[in-house]
Amino acid sequence: MEIGFDYTRSLGPVLSRFMTALAERRILGCRGSDGRVHAPPLEYDPVTYAPLTELVEVGPAGTVVTWTWLDRPLDGQPLDRPFGWALIRLDGADTAMLHAVDAGTKDQMRTGMRVQVRWAPEPVGHIRDVACFEPIGGAAPASPRSGVDPVTMVTTPIHLRYRHTTSIEESRYLRGLAEGKLIGQRCPACGKVYVPPRGACPTCGVPTVDDVELPDRGTVTTFCVVNVPFPGQRIPPPYVVAYVLLDGADIPMQHLILGCRPDEVRMGMRVAAVWRPREQWGTTPQNIDHFQPSGEPDAPFDSYAQHL
């Protein structure tokens, strides 16, 4: 699965000046109540907790305080070739910041080595304007520039890629779907049928091992009509999301209702699954494209009132 969002950060007064300075190819720290200079700057003093307002320029060179070596960089890290992660105390600062040192090979890294900032080609007012640090000896860092508009917001895209490992019960349920079946499980203690199956009854706390195949028709217990669009939405609105209580199940599942106008959907409506063409089936609940009215008379309220 993959999820991601471009988060927008409002910076407040201190970090706004820090980011604006980066766009100018300058690094600012701030002076704390005890006289120490923190770089990057802090918004509040770690000793007195008071707001900090005195920003001072530090760097662009500094000293490696300690370091480690990374042979295989990951996506999104400052460099795509082996580099050193170092705590770097910039000249004029009393604290160290973590950054990458483009030293080439591990034997070029040492504690106490002198490094200087390497600026990104086009600074924009973002922490990534500091591309990395490099050993002093080559060309001097690019010169500061002026005339930069104040930076008050930064965007930080964040992406997560992950594998969902299915439980034994989820796996059986998803494999059943690939064969056009709906597999639930019955609790041996209370007799309630759960679909999708969970492997344990949340009420009784006992394992559920009895599989139950359920029909692909049921009753709409309750529903809403989604009229509102939002980022990441998979289905264009308006659409009806209903709780469908499959015949023989004790818990409803959420699904789409199509095949009628949204204002014709009602509590108690009988519905049947509409499957996608068999050649499109996979191990996914989306094999059922939607539910549609079955044409049967509505179920009486009392028949599903305990399953709302």
């Binding site: 699965m1 999820i3 969002f5 988060y7 927008t8 409002s10 910076l11 407040g12 970090l15 802090l42 918004e43 509040y44 770690p46 007195t48 907790y49 707001p51 917001m153 969902h164 299915t166 989820e170 998803l174 209370c190 309630k192 049928v193 759960y194 949340p202 009420t203 309750t222 529903f223 809403c224 009509v225 989604v226 009229n227 509102v228 939002f230 980022p231 990441g232 939405q233 998979r234 289905i235 659409y239 999301v241 209903a242 709780y243 004790d250 818990i251 599942m253 959420q254 699904h255 789409l256 949204p262 509590m267 609940p285 989306q286 059922i288 309220f301 009132a305 305990q306 399953h307 709302l308």
Partner: protein, 384 residues
């Protein structure tokens, strides 16, 4: 258990986007006001408790790490509380228990959300691969249950709009409220777009940036205060699974049991008679009558009658959400703490224009998850 009291409260000006501050600055706006209201300073704070809703809302894992300096946590214990939308309430309760247990004398509780950094509907609609991708945020989740409530109670359709009008007009009396709509009417609510049928736009909470903070002290700290404090009479929390066969989303058992435990611990026999003001977590207007029933202010199916009769208005028998409530300001993680703080402000006599006259005993309430976590407290002008 030792006595504990709220010594002071603070909150931010809640807005759609507080781009003038960082998350740290947002928290400090509330904290600095709470310390000032409590007449105390950092030297008196023994521990800090932070609450906020899921990290995906801002995309910062464990924000308590980078916020430690701003929260004044350096050199002190810092705890993070995490119970979805009810977290603000749980945060206040954890802080009060640290005092009641005699561990600390004064504890700062803080909760915040900066919803403008992300999109909560997106964050709440990410589903695992074994369910259909039909989630549509909190509104999509709760709308079917509101439909169930209307069907079960036979409530007339205008009750939801009545709550919206009352809360938004109350919010107009609250200088911190995000939405302040003194001119809202039943007609304008009914004319607003249907978002998640049966929930209309005007029957929905806003998405807010905001924070809230309170200072809780022990009996000696409370007695040393030269201002009125809010004595904590009782607290209660209960949990249930989001989904199980037989789950009652309209009248959740965890909320029912928490409230009965709360009334018992506070010595309250008739909550409708004995509670002077209630700040109840109502993110969609229909939740007012539902929670009135769940909390025992009305019998099942009867809550809407209190609302319809105007009894939940600021001069009614049970003023509900005189601050405007979640319907006017919804910085999610802070929304529960705001309910608890506003209850305290009522019994401290510091609620300003939305003060309920003569309020001596008040309820603060929060819920979160899929009606899964419940947190509540009763505070009073006098100790019990």
């Amino acid at each position: 258990m030792n006595r504990a009291a709220v010594l002071g409260t603070g909150q931010t000006e809640h807005r759609t986007r507080r781009t003038d501050v960082s998350m740290a600055g947002l928290c400090r706006e509330a904290i600095d006001r709470a310390l000032a209201d409590a007449g105390t300073d950092w030297s008196d704070v023994d521990a800090v408790v932070l609450g906020k809703a899921p990290d995906l809302f801002e995309g910062v894992m464990m924000p308590e790490l980078f916020l430690a300096d701003a929260l004044g946590a350096t050199g002190r214990p810092l705890l993070r509380v995490h119970t979805a939308g009810s977290v603000g309430g749980s945060t206040a309760i954890v802080a009060s228990q640290l005092v009641q247990a005699g561990v600390h004398r004064r504890v700062l509780a803080v909760a915040f959300e900066k919803q403008s950094e992300s999109n909560a509907m997106w964050a709440l609609s990410i589903q695992p691969p074994f369910t259909m991708p039909v989630g549509a945020g909190a509104g999509g989740y709760f709308a079917p249950h509101i439909r169930s409530y209307i069907r079960r109670s036979g409530a007339p359709p205008h009750v939801g709009a009545m709550v919206a009008v009352k809360d938004r007009r109350n919010g107009a009396l609250n200088p911190y409220a995000h939405l302040r709509q003194p001119d809202i009417t039943l007609e304008s609510v009914n004319a607003s777009p249907m978002l998640w049928d049966p929930i209309r736009y005007d029957e929905t909470c806003p998405s807010s940036d905001g924070a809230c903070a309170i200072v809780i002290g022990d009996e000696a700290a409370a007695e040393a205060s030269d201002r009125q404090v809010a004595w904590i009479h009782a607290t209660a929390m209960r949990t249930e699974p989001t989904y199980f066969a037989g789950k009652d989303h309209v009248n959740p058992r965890a909320g029912y049991e928490a409230s009965r435990a709360l009334w018992r611990a506070a010595g309250i026999i008739d909550p409708l008679e004995q509670i002077d003001a209630a700040e109840i977590y109502v993110p969609f207007s229909w939740f007012e009558p539902m929670w009135l029933e769940n909390l025992g202010f009305a019998a099942p199916g009867e809550g809407w009658k209190l609302t319809e009769a105007g009894e939940t208005g600021i001069d009614g028998a049970l003023p509900v959400n005189p601050s405007g409530g979640v319907m006017c300001s919804n910085p999610i993680g802070a929304s529960g703490l705001l309910r608890f703080a506003e209850a305290a402000m009522q019994v401290m006599g510091r609620a300003g224009e939305h003060q309920v006259e003569g309020a001596r005993t008040a309820l603060g309430h929060a819920y979160g998850g899929g009606s899964q976590f419940f947190a509540m407290w009763v505070v009073g002008t006098a100790p019990v």
